[in-house]
Symmetry: D2
Subunit: 259 residues, 4 copies
């Protein structure tokens, strides 16, 4: 009979907040508004707490548990995964975050050409004791931004660039990744497509030029919508512009909690 | 009628070797030895040549073409994608590379626990004129390596670490990703698993200790198998050890061409 | 006279928590315990708050201000940089973080061979209103860890690997990067060197084997020292092992506040 | 007396092309046209060949040798490092590549504001037998590019973005990093600065708009200058635009040899 070192007592009297596995790549099926579900590949972190009197956790159980998940990964299913983690590891608290590229078919604005856009998403769940699990959705949305200052002071043209808007949100009722994507894309100078024919390119160029935005404008316009949405209980939003005139980014960040 | 700038003549008299799109994320289905096919997510680069008298290529066609691919991506299907690229862009040469994590179910050596291992793979196709397309398969295999020097000079123990073996190969007949993975895993001190129970952990620890390998040994043992395989017409193999006693890697590389 | 768009009023009534520049690369001189100072290269983020009635901040002032810093960057000098940021931008709060590789000469344990070890460090300062600035030091220390379970259950050998221990700390009085490095290196199975001759390699192999540690052990042993140090007012410590038998990491995390 | 495993004979009859260390971080001093030299931080790879009859190389000697380099790292000094590597390791061939951010002070075009721009550079040296060492300089230059198609077809505005131009070159006589930077910056729609005041921003916006360039144009205009420079014996140039209207890049590549 092999000794179980992890199960031995520990005398340092120091509980551990999080212990588990990090950076595991795993294929996942996620809920998809248009198609029911989609296949993608995730990077997963899974942790539980460890009380002061226990020497170690059982790392293999995290991976085994992930293998048994047989429903699409979504904000809905995180709670039961967290409960399974606590039961399997004998823990009081559990944490999981699952990051994956998520694809949405977009139709170009003029020629109706279809293409897939990719958005990096993370769903994060934490469960602590008997309280309801804390669930956060994070969505990164690439956008176009045109600089209002550059447009105003220049006789023609205006510098613009790709930016990334990152929204994290807590909520009462389930929200779709697509909802976050849509509201961010409407707050940018213009949204981004994978396929644009020439008529589309004229459209997005002119739309963006008509709609110049600082990173400050983008985070405020996203924040405005989220503040007005009573389903959102907390959010943070950042905008990062990969400036075309600099080798660094412009950045803005707002965090907001209801009550 | 909109002017087509890309179609205008160019007078600099300089042909371009490769022009196209880089870093496009796209969900793909790839051929899988055990299950027929698997869903994963790829990063794709697609280029064609541009003759000296043409000003620009048509970037949107690359993405549109990728959307029309409706057979599993594999070494087999690259040739027809390359032909489609040349036809669509009016080019003489075409290049595509598709990188993706590929998952293989592995059973642990003692307790038969099942888990998925991920291997980063790239399939690369180049077609130049009327010649047969040049196809290369690249597979990165994480491994365990135990240092033979450390084992020999120490009274007990031996430093070991995760390493990555990267094989690129050209071949006569189709080869499976699984074949490359298998031969590399046999050339390491021990192969790697996502789930190992205690009996498995004892097994892999002792197997690795019994089988110490420098990076030099690993590349030579992989090379030996590939040299003896008459289906392989060219290969390179590198081994990189993320040394546990240093903050840099040990590295070895062999390239070999059959005549 | 050019219009100053950033200076225009804003009517959305939404203050911005952080706005500024991100990802700027800049050569810096940092305080060094052994040599007084050392030259390295930093990545810098600088933000201020923006009140609800202001449309935008002045991005160029951040970079100009960084150029005027003429004392070595250190925990000591952050406060004055933060004050300069608030004054220059007319802001109430300011935040800066500066990340850089930091080099320490280490002598190998047996042959006394000298080599440089690199540690990724970040110094973070935040100033909010009239309160004393909040300063955090983060140091990432690569280490060797030997698995206690693997050692115990195996007839010979034990899997080990490179790991990274990340300490973040708040403190009363100035602390050296070297102090954090030293206490972490003593909590690992063995510390890491850039140059090891054979006699040294025997030493570190045997020392590590005699001193097996889970990630749980490493964070607890680091935490124990930091809890006992009354100069430390808050800390977090994580340990991540790049497992040699898996393609994912083992991870543990403790956060502690001296309330 | 400890056994020297690396020095034992090998019977697999397979020589190794490259063996050594990879990913070592090291502070370096590099030659600087304006100031004589500058301090920066490099990532270094160093390899030698290993004949078929030798089991292993001596990894610690690479790091020791790097520590003895006491002249500024430059294209000039690589040859002597390569000779030292061959002598120290008893090898016939040696390879080193040293990558580092390199800083150049630039003055903004209107307000003469000074700022530092960073350029990622690599110097690569290979020595094989008695032949003259093969030295390559690689410089990555971030630039602004305005899309000629978008400008032409749109009633106003034009999408633009940050791009990166990567030049690799072989040459007869020493060339400065600054020379490559200058010629690339002149081939872009506009060059990039770290500090731009409003008058400067107007200038670069209008200059870029007046000077639209596809990736195809940028690589051709760089190639044109390099082809005409009889000091350059070989070069490759790529341009990658981080498209503001897409989430992927546009890319072009030319390679040219002065036979």
């Amino acid at each position: 009979m092999m000794i179980d070192i992890q199960n031995q007592p520990d005398f340092r009297n120091i509980p551990i907040d999080k212990v588990g596995i990090k950076g595991l790549k795993h294929p996942v099926i996620v809920r998809d508004k248009a198609n029911g579900s989609q296949s993608t590949v995730a990077e997963v972190n899974m942790y539980v707490d460890l009380p002061h009197q226990c020497k170690g956790t059982h790392m293999s159980r995290f991976v085994e548990l992930l293998h048994t998940v047989n429903t699409p990964v979504s904000l809905d299913s995180l709670t039961s995964i967290l409960e399974d983690m606590k039961a399997s590891l004998g823990a009081k608290s559990a944490h999981i975050d699952i990051s994956f590229p998520y694809f949405i078919e977009k139709t170009s604005p003029c020629t109706q050409s279809k293409g897939l856009m990719d958005y990096n998403c993370t769903i994060i769940g934490s469960s602590n004791g008997r309280k309801k699990a804390d669930i956060v959705l994070k969505v990164a949305v690439p956008v176009t931004s045109v600089c209002p200052c550059s447009k105003e002071i220049s006789d023609y043209g205006a510098h613009n660039q790709r930016g990334e808007v990152l929204v994290a949100a807590r909520f009462h009722k389930f929200i779709w990744i697509e909802e976050i994507v849509n509201l961010v894309e409407q707050a940018a100078s213009c949204d981004i497509y994978s396929v644009l024919k020439r008529a589309d390119e004229k459209y997005v160029t002119e739309k963006a030029y008509n709609n110049p935005k600082f990173v400050e404008d983008i985070v405020r316009d996203v924040a405005k919508v989220l503040i007005e949405d009573s389903n959102i209980t907390w959010f943070s939003v950042s905008a990062e512009n990969f400036e075309s005139i600099h080798n660094h980014s412009a950045y803005a960040y707002i965090e907001h909690s209801r009550d």
